[in-house]
């Protein structure tokens, strides 16, 4: 009987340790509490070019992450990229309707994210609203192309 009880306790400890490990993996390692989908609200931004922006990329305002990119689609009528931004709950009435959305790159080799620059309007974006002011991602080849083009123009002007 005593032996049986020891086994019971050890099995209980084993199961508990396993579940603690699972809990640790979902809370501390992957942050389940922050990745909750369905809460918050969605707004839409249209870009001419999103570079290599990915779904689940962060959406930041003043450098603070306030949401994630939840979907990226292509509009065949206007040839624009339609990016759906899911803003977390707690940031209602935080994004004025003249907010500027830009696509930035974190660090030299980092991933791309959407940065929001707040405007001065007193009207705030609600579920399903659109951000009309956007700036595309900087594509390295385009920048180099522009640089070469301006250099060439400089050279032509001098002659």
């Amino acid at each position: 009987m005593n032996h049986g009880r020891t086994i019971e306790i050890l099995v209980g400890a084993f199961m508990a340790a396993g579940f603690v490990a699972l809990f640790f993996l979902s809370m501390k390692v992957s942050n389940l509490s922050a990745s909750g989908t369905g809460s918050g609200y969605e707004i839409e931004a249209r870009f001419d070019n999103i570079g290599s922006l990915k779904v689940r990329a962060p959406v930041t305002m003043a450098g603070v992450r306030i949401g994630r990119v939840s979907a990226i689609n292509f509009d065949a009528q206007t040839f624009e990229a339609v990016v759906i931004l899911r803003i977390e709950s707690g940031y209602e009435d935080a994004i004025p309707d003249d907010t500027f959305a830009k696509i930035f790159t974190a660090g030299l080799l980092g991933e791309q994210y959407v940065g929001l620059d707040a405007g001065g309007s007193q009207n705030f974006l609600k579920e399903g609203d659109k951000i009309s002011l956007t700036q595309s991602a900087l594509v390295l080849e385009e920048i180099i192309g522009q640089f070469l083009f301006s250099k060439a123009e400089e050279g032509a002007a001098r002659e």
């Binding site: 086994i7 084993f14 699972l22 992957s30 389940l32 990745s35």
Partner: protein
């Protein structure tokens, strides 16, 4: 019939015999799996049997899994740091350690250890029960040996494996944290925040759990079948034990490739 034709026919017959043998083997394994699953209903009425098997399959494997997990995580932290620091990206050490553990190393290495530690023991135990006619003895007493002996072990294997893999991954992350942050001086906040930003609960952690469930099923199934199907001699039991470890390891590695391709391919 001339001699060369007869030799050719003999070769063909041998090939056919081995093919039929493999198919028979697979057929017996699936029939055994069906009867083991059929016993699950009775197991609910006898949770005591499951408890004892959870002890010998799960608890006794926990130590080796915990120790290996910690050391694998520490090595990942060390190697990852040396490579990442060449690019000035030490901050992403947490992501590297956690992603490789949760997605791949946790389920796979824990399953390989499980096959070596628990699978071989299961095969030897059941093979010896068969060799000493204990299984026949049970049948004589009108006790179904599959329901009484095999099903509790099978259920214990499937329950234990995800828990063991989770322990492996969690302790590995702690080991990587200890080496990376404690010894090599990676920033504490960046280690965790980068990890939390990049590791997804459903895509990474849940898929790892699904992987380990599949590995648990396959490893326990192979171990039980090899034991139940072993030749009832000492040589037969020893061969069956070896086969358990070899087949389980190959099955885990092969299945891991297929599961990874299905889960993480975009």
């Amino acid at each position: 019939m001339t001699a060369p034709v007869k030799a050719l026919m003999d070769q063909l017959a041998r090939l056919g015999r081995s093919g039929v043998g493999v198919l028979e083997h697979l057929g017996r394994a699936h029939l055994l799996l069906l009867s083991i699953l059929g016993g699950l209903g009775d197991l609910v009425r006898r949770p005591r049997l499951l408890l004892i098997q959870l002890f010998s399959v799960g608890v006794l494997s926990a130590l080796i899994v915990a120790v290996s997990g910690t050391f694998v995580g520490m090595v990942l932290g060390l190697q990852g740091y040396y490579i990442l620091s060449q690019f000035g990206a030490e901050q992403t050490l947490g992501v590297m350690v956690a992603a490789s553990l949760v997605r791949e190393l946790g389920p796979v290495v824990a399953a390989l250890l499980f096959a070596g530690r628990a699978g071989s023991a299961l095969t030897a135990e059941i093979g010896l029960m068969k060799a000493t006619e204990q299984l026949s003895g049970l049948e004589m007493m009108a006790v179904d040996p599959i329901k009484r002996i095999l099903t509790p072990r099978f259920a214990a294997g499937i329950i234990s494996m995800p828990l063991l893999a989770a322990m492996f991954s969690a302790l590995g992350v702690m080991g990587g944290y200890f080496v990376g942050v404690g010894l090599l001086g990676v920033d504490d906040g960046a280690f965790w925040s980068q990890m939390q930003a990049k590791i997804d609960t459903y895509d990474d952690v849940l898929n790892g759990v699904i992987k380990s469930l599949v590995f648990g099923l396959v490893c326990t199934w192979i171990a039980l079948f090899q034991g139940y199907d072993a030749d009832p001699t000492s040589v037969g039991v020893s061969r069956a034990t070896t086969r358990t470890v070899v087949h389980s390891s190959l099955a885990v590695l092969g299945l891991d490739f297929i599961l990874t391709a299905l889960m993480f391919g975009e």
